[in-house]
Symmetry: C2
Subunit: 133 residues, 2 copies
DNA sequence: GTGGGTGCAAATAATTTGCACGGTA
DNA sequence: TACCGTGCAAATTATTTGCACCCAC
């Protein structure tokens, strides 16, 4: 993940964009809301505005640099796109989030869409689990 | 689904509540946003206000009469709770929501949880699709 | 009668947009 | 230098809340 990714997305390499990209690169596997980022950036002495954060997040998402998730609390959160697709498993006791990938599951989803006369564009899957003691 | 369900939820049986409950009962398997309902109720000559719709939806959800979903288009949608589990397929072009059930999928999810040393408690799965022309 | 319920309008919350200034190529 | 990008504030969108009036019990 580097500055040239910004240029490849057809965007000018500016300070706010570099700061946001660098923050995500330094915190892979974590999820942040626009407001989280705003607070973090300010702590890092950045002058970036909240509106710019939203604009940059949308541009990065369109460029495939980051992924946007909608959890059920209203706010959107973003994470770095690592190129490795995964789904999430949430421990209902601890709130711990585990990432997992299943080829079988991916195939089944494509089949299910096809059975309904559709092409699969994307999916969202979260398993809520409890550890077996 | 009947008036006594409202009373059992500890709520007074009022006209707006009856109207909303009746609308859901007459349209099982469909998903409506608060604004959809507001429009539909006005068409049915109801004087119900949008704020009341939001209040009633929250109360019904708390009572387990309806289910709230957050798909990726900002607005929340609600459907009647029928007691029969199903997952959702959202058409990204039209926003149309289709329900589906796959035994294979349910089994696979249980297996995946088990592979990670866990017991499956619940899950949330949405396929985003496009119709094949 | 009384306390919860309602419609309306104003208040929030998350996000987007208009605008004049500033920085990148 | 031309033009995209930016911060700020105002606009939008979805939802919640305050308040005076109304209705089911």
């Amino acid at each position: 993940m580097k500055a040239s990714d910004i240029k490849n997305a057809g965007l000018k390499v500016t300070l706010p964009r570099l700061q946001v990209l660098e923050f995500f690169s330094k915190n892979p596997g974590n999820h942040y809301s626009a407001d989280d980022l705003f607070t973090k950036m300010r702590q890092l002495k950045s002058e970036i505005g909240l509106a710019t954060i939203y604009r940059v997040l949308n541009q990065f998402e369109a460029a495939g640099l980051i992924i946007k998730h909608q959890f059920e609390n209203g706010q959107s959160v973003y994470e770095l796109e690592t190129g490795e697709h995964h789904d999430h498993m949430v421990d209902v006791d601890t709130g711990e989030v585990k990432e997992f990938f299943s080829h079988k599951l991916e195939q089944l989803q494509i089949e299910l869409a096809k059975e309904h006369g559709c092409e699969l564009i994307d999916h969202n899957m979260v398993l809520y689990v409890k550890k077996i003691k």
